[in-house]
């Protein structure tokens, strides 16, 4: 049955746009995946696309001119999501962008537009959640946090923490993706982390004990409602949060 062609790319934003460029010139149906994605039913021919800055920029510029900055940002947010359908979704959305221009966002009758909007909201929603759920541990002068978010939201929390903890030194380590955001009190950088994450974090300092105590004593036992709690703070986040780990 398969007339679908599968393109893969290196996982970079430019790589995705190179793949979109390539897809436009193929006269057949195309699905796009990151190399590391799980590709369902590997029966179709797969082509690995070499990232090409020139081609990527060509698509990017044309698109930005057509739809403006806000929609370009939204595309980037969807790119940061970790669903294996994200790349193909962006490709379909880009096609609709060229068809409808800025009005594309109004077309909520189209499943692609709805899914796109939902996916974007998931990413931004998780980034907002993480601004609350991240827990720093004081290691000497450095505040260190480990996270395992569903989506690649590390760069979306950068501005929040650098304006809040602007004169502190801190590290946020995404264990799932082996990357970390390091802030030295002035500027930030992203690094890939090869070593094992710091594990010996069991010893609690006084403020950590106080926080656990506070968490326990602030619940009202006459109103216990575990379902409410889990809806707002799903279990998968608990292991990296001091009060629930």
């Amino acid at each position: 049955m398969t007339k679908v062609k599968i393109l893969t790319y290196d996982g970079s934003f430019l790589g995705l746009f190179t793949a979109i460029y390539t897809a436009y010139y193929l006269k057949q149906e195309v699905e796009i995946f990151k190399v590391k994605d799980e590709i369902p039913g590997l029966i179709s021919p797969t082509v690995m696309i070499e990232t090409d800055e020139f081609k990527a920029n060509k698509v990017f510029r044309a698109l930005e001119q057509k739809v403006g900055k806000i929609i370009m940002d939204n595309i980037y947010f969807v790119f940061l999501s970790d669903f294996n359908y994200s790349s193909s979704l962006i490709y379909s959305y880009v096609r609709l962008c060229f068809k409808y221009g800025r009005e594309v966002a109004l077309h909520l009758e189209l499943p692609e537009v709805l899914t796109f909007e939902r996916t974007r909201n998931k990413v931004l929603g998780e980034a907002h959640r993480m601004t609350g759920f991240i827990r720093f541990k004081k290691l000497g002068e450095i505040l260190y946090a480990q996270i395992e978010p569903d989506h690649n939201i590390l760069e979306l929390v950068l501005d929040h923490f650098s304006s809040r903890l602007g004169s502190e030194k801190w590290i946020i380590h995404d264990k799932k993706r082996s990357i970390a955001l390091i802030y030295n009190g002035k500027e930030s950088r992203f690094v890939t982390v090869e070593n094992e994450p710091i594990s010996n974090l069991q010893n609690l300092d006084i403020y950590e004990s106080l926080w656990k105590k506070y968490y326990d004593s602030t619940s009202i036992k006459e109103r216990i409602n575990e379902r409410y709690k889990l809806r707002s703070m799903p279990k998968r986040y608990h292991k990296n949060m001091l009060e629930t780990e």
Partner: protein
């Protein structure tokens, strides 16, 4: 007593204050300080009862010279007492903040010695945070009723939000259960804060460098079910507070039995459904353009347990419906049960480019279970039968039913 124990006592004592909001502040930060106040508010954790933890919510002390019957910290109550010094409070806040446990501090207190003395200590803690630690995070303090206005004015320039708790919805109830409080010493600080906020906004228009005064506004709290006021009385009061004092929020706290004083009602469970209905109605007042007198009447002064207030309103105003999704103005769309602000925005976007059918609505995430009985899409009715009895039957709030069936206040005939 060590600090862990103190914190346990003083956070346990503060938890009945339900406010947790950390949003809406526009205060300008000091340079090189720590922290900022987000305009959108952030939840850092959730308690096992499902409430958002945003602020370190503690009492400075629970040593009280008042004897309010409904309060666990009243002077005659046999509880362990503790006191946190201003510097202990400041250090706790800063260290919790740096570790990203909280958005800031919500400091309240029992009446220690007298209202002014208590307020001075609260101001000392807040001054330490703002000036010694350069703390830019969110601070909410409680005004102790009876504090002199000079102290309120000083505090207002340091904090983001202030609140004076009404606690009980009428003078009569206050004098019955909180003999040392009067409606006057609750309302006068509220009105003082309100007029200062207004003046501050005007001054800022002329001198940009004018320091902020309570930039996140004021709020209050009412205890529900400790006295016999009906829901109509409560939401009329609420409406009035929003109108005359521009309060940001009115919070409702279902009365939890803390003593067996004969003046208090005997209940085995806090009236959670009633509290829930009041919050739903409060939402309708603030964001949906409803008036208190539209929602309840003297003849029917309590909210229906079977329907949320918006559905209840719709069922009693069927003449207003069905509403045509493709042409109704936004204000009318907002009155449809199951359709909120978000849904309205989606409907308005989509109908600019596409004629909306009921299938579209489902996919937009509209609660069709409720909405369909009240709408038409391109002339076609989306429910089954536009009939009063039929819709009433089908829309009974099953969750609420389950919630009330276990409390003994309801009689057999209520269902």
């Amino acid at each position: 007593m060590d600090i862990v124990e103190k914190l346990a006592i003083l956070s346990d004592a503060a938890k009945y204050d339900v406010s947790c909001s950390s949003s809406g502040s526009t205060r300008t930060n000091k340079n090189n300080g720590i922290g900022n106040a987000e305009s959108s508010g952030i939840c850092h954790s959730f308690t096992t009862d499902g409430r958002c933890i945003s602020l370190l919510k503690i009492l400075m002390t629970n040593i009280c010279s008042y004897d309010c019957v409904y309060c666990i910290n009243r002077i005659s109550s046999d509880v362990r007492r503790a006191f946190l010094s201003p510097s202990e409070i400041a250090e706790l806040t800063i260290n919790f903040y740096k570790r990203n446990y909280i958005e800031g501090l919500f400091l309240s207190s029992a009446v220690y010695k007298n209202p002014d003395y208590t307020m001075e200590l609260i101001i000392e803690a807040v001054t330490l945070l703002r000036n010694a630690y350069n703390f830019n995070g969110y601070i909410h303090i409680k005004v102790i009723p009876g504090t002199k206005t000079e102290l309120i004015a000083r505090a207002g320039r340091l904090v983001d939000r202030m609140s004076v708790n009404m606690e009980l919805p009428s003078e009569k109830s206050l004098s019955l259960l909180a003999p040392q409080k009067t409606l006057h010493n609750i309302m006068s600080p509220m009105s003082f804060i309100h007029s200062n906020i207004i003046t501050n906004i005007e001054e800022k228009r002329i001198f940009k460098s004018t320091p902020d005064f309570v930039p996140a506004g004021q709020s209050t709290q009412l205890i529900i079910g400790a006295t016999n006021e009906d829901d109509l009385k409560i939401i009329r009061l609420t409406e009035n507070l929003y109108k005359s004092f521009k309060l940001k929020r009115v919070y409702y706290s279902a009365y939890i039995p803390v003593s067996t004083n004969p003046l208090l009602p005997v209940i085995d469970k806090p009236p959670l459904l009633r509290e829930h209905r009041l919050y739903q109605a409060d939402w309708l007042l603030r964001f949906y353009g409803f008036k208190a007198d539209e929602l309840l009447t003297e003849r029917k002064p309590f909210f229906d347990t079977n329907y949320d207030p918006k559905t209840d309103w719709a069922l009693n105003h069927l003449g207003f419906f069905p509403v045509e999704i493709n042409t109704a103005p936004p204000r009318t769309l907002l009155r449809i049960p199951g359709i909120g602000h978000r849904s309205v925005n989606k409907i308005l976007a989509l109908r600019r480019v596409h004629k909306i059918n009921s299938d579209n609505l489902k996919k937009l995430g509209i609660v069709m279970k409720r909405a369909r009985h009240f709408i038409t899409c391109d002339g076609r009715y989306c429910g089954d039968m536009f009939n009063d009895f039929y819709i009433r039957n089908i829309l009974v709030d099953q969750k609420a039913k389950a919630l009330t069936s276990t409390t003994r206040q309801l009689s057999f005939f209520d269902s």
